[in-house]
């Protein structure tokens, strides 16, 4: 994919000492990704990161469902900053695109309308007795991963190439609307040609696929997914993207935003069950990764330790292409190898659970 302007959208990303904020959706659906992020940063790269038990959700999903008022979310955000100050950190990294959008937007709103910052300080003090200083640096966790992409490439055990043919894997990247559409300058590469995932993909040997609906929303649409009656909108938008990308025969999708990763995975299941359509080359699904999982695989982490078994669409075809060894029988085991049953196979699944995993049963 050609691009030319990403260098014009550079942002400062701190080199070390991060205050980490977890994501509602990522910890629910991709807890292995959050674990991998911390492990990669602290173990592989030797960085310092604080996982503070006292922090909370930014309440962004409530805010974008319009039940949490602006004044309230500003105060919640202020509390997060206050916790960060208290712990002696000044680089805020958040594991969620909605949150990243919220933090960026609130800092910009405080700047543009200083009376809102004053009101927030007042509210926070009244509610908690806390005060806060703004962070020196706000980044999304993928920004940090991007920042260290060359270090990761240097430690790579696997590359994003077909181990048999040596051809680069074809990757669809999905950025997540709130990463740079709210403030194009807050994202690496801007809003039209974001480079945050593409930079990782290229550094690790893959090839980025540009396709007509690349910039389109995954369809989360907050209330449009959260309320069952509205989900026709949500699935239709993912459907539109999948229809548009399938002819390019991508080897996998990688998503910046935890919600997008979940929806692009789960909606493939629902579309297949509803109308029998599948988008993968093998007649099943296209694997969807988070960028932490992608980085983890490159660094040689065990796929099940990354939590890839929590996806609906099987990732094994991709693992095979990359020449990654894994134990099929260990996929759906619980803690300490405990057998806990296995999911039913669905149309999108290419690895029928009833043939492979009966060994341990």
């Amino acid at each position: 994919m050609k691009r030319r302007s990403w260098q014009e959208y550079q942002k400062e990303i701190a080199d070390d000492h991060y205050y980490y904020a977890r994501s509602c959706i990522r910890q629910n659906f991709f807890p292995g990704s959050e674990k991998a992020f911390i492990d990669i940063l602290t173990n592989d790269l030797g960085k310092d990161l604080l996982d503070d038990p006292k922090h909370s959700s930014c309440t962004g999903i409530g805010y974008h469902s319009d039940i949490v008022p602006l004044e309230t979310i500003m105060t919640v955000v202020a509390r997060q900053f206050s916790l960060m100050n208290e712990a002696g950190y000044e680089n805020f990294v958040t594991s969620c695109i909605t949150s990243f959008g919220i933090y960026t937007e609130i800092l910009a709103t405080w700047h543009e309308f200083p009376e809102t910052e004053e009101k927030t300080r007042e509210n926070l003090f009244k509610a908690t007795g806390r005060e806060f200083r703004k962070p020196a640096n706000v980044a999304h966790t993928s920004d940090v991963m991007f920042h260290f992409r060359d270090e990761i490439a240097a430690r790579a055990k696997h590359r994003l190439v077909n181990a048999v043919t040596g051809e680069p894997l074809r990757v669809v990247e999905h950025i997540g609307c709130h990463y740079a559409k709210i403030f194009p300058k807050s994202g690496i590469g801007g809003s039209e040609f974001p480079y945050v995932l593409a930079g990782m993909i290229e550094s690790w040997g893959g090839e980025v696929v540009d396709y007509p609906e690349r910039r389109h929303c995954c369809g989360f649409g907050f209330r449009n997914y959260l309320v069952q009656a509205n989900r026709g909108y949500s699935i239709a938008n993912s459907h539109k993207k999948l229809e548009s990308m399938a002819p390019y025969k991508p080897d996998f999708i990688v998503a910046n935003c935890p919600g997008c990763a979940m929806f692009l995975d789960k909606w493939q299941y629902a579309i297949a069950e509803m109308e029998g359509t599948t988008y993968g080359q093998n007649g099943h699904g296209i694997p969807v990764l988070t960028y932490e999982e992608m980085a983890g695989l490159v660094l040689g982490y065990d796929p099940w330790a990354l939590g890839i078994q929590m996806h609906q669409v099987d990732v094994e075809p991709l693992l095979d292409k990359m020449g990654i060894e894994y134990d099929p029988a260990a996929k759906y085991l619980g803690r300490n190898g405990k057998y806990i049953g296995k999911p039913e196979s669905a149309v999108v699944n290419c690895c029928p659970t009833d043939t492979i995993y009966d060994i341990r049963e």
Partner: protein
């Protein structure tokens, strides 16, 4: 297929998709009445429309949709027209708007 009751279905797109729409009928209409293509979208026809003041009929919208290959429902819509001809008097491009109504009804009865 497993009969899962999802409680919703995949919404259908509303987009005017010019890669899918068949413009053959629209071309025929424009060939018979090329002046329709000179519409500047001013909306005078719709503002003065007798039927449009009483119903949801919007002449400008319907003939524009027809020109984009969106034929469905156009015939029924055009049936709301009372053929009073006031629109023709106000059209700054001198389009025979009443004739457009008749032509679209003649061409698109099947849609």
């Amino acid at each position: 297929m497993a009969a899962i009751n999802f409680g919703y279905t995949i919404s259908k797109p509303r987009v005017i998709d010019l890669d899918r729409n068949n413009l053959r009928k629209s071309d025929e209409i424009l060939r018979e009445m090329p002046e329709l293509q000179t519409c500047i979208g001013c909306g005078a026809c719709t503002a003065i429309c007798t039927a449009g003041n009483l119903t949801s009929f919007n002449f400008r919208r319907v003939h524009t949709l027809v020109r984009r290959g969106e034929y469905q429902g156009a015939y029924e819509e055009m049936n709301k027209c009372m053929l009073c001809g006031k629109c023709r008097l106000v059209c700054p491009r001198g389009i025979n708007t009443r004739g457009v109504v008749m032509l679209i009804k003649r061409k698109l009865g099947d849609f």
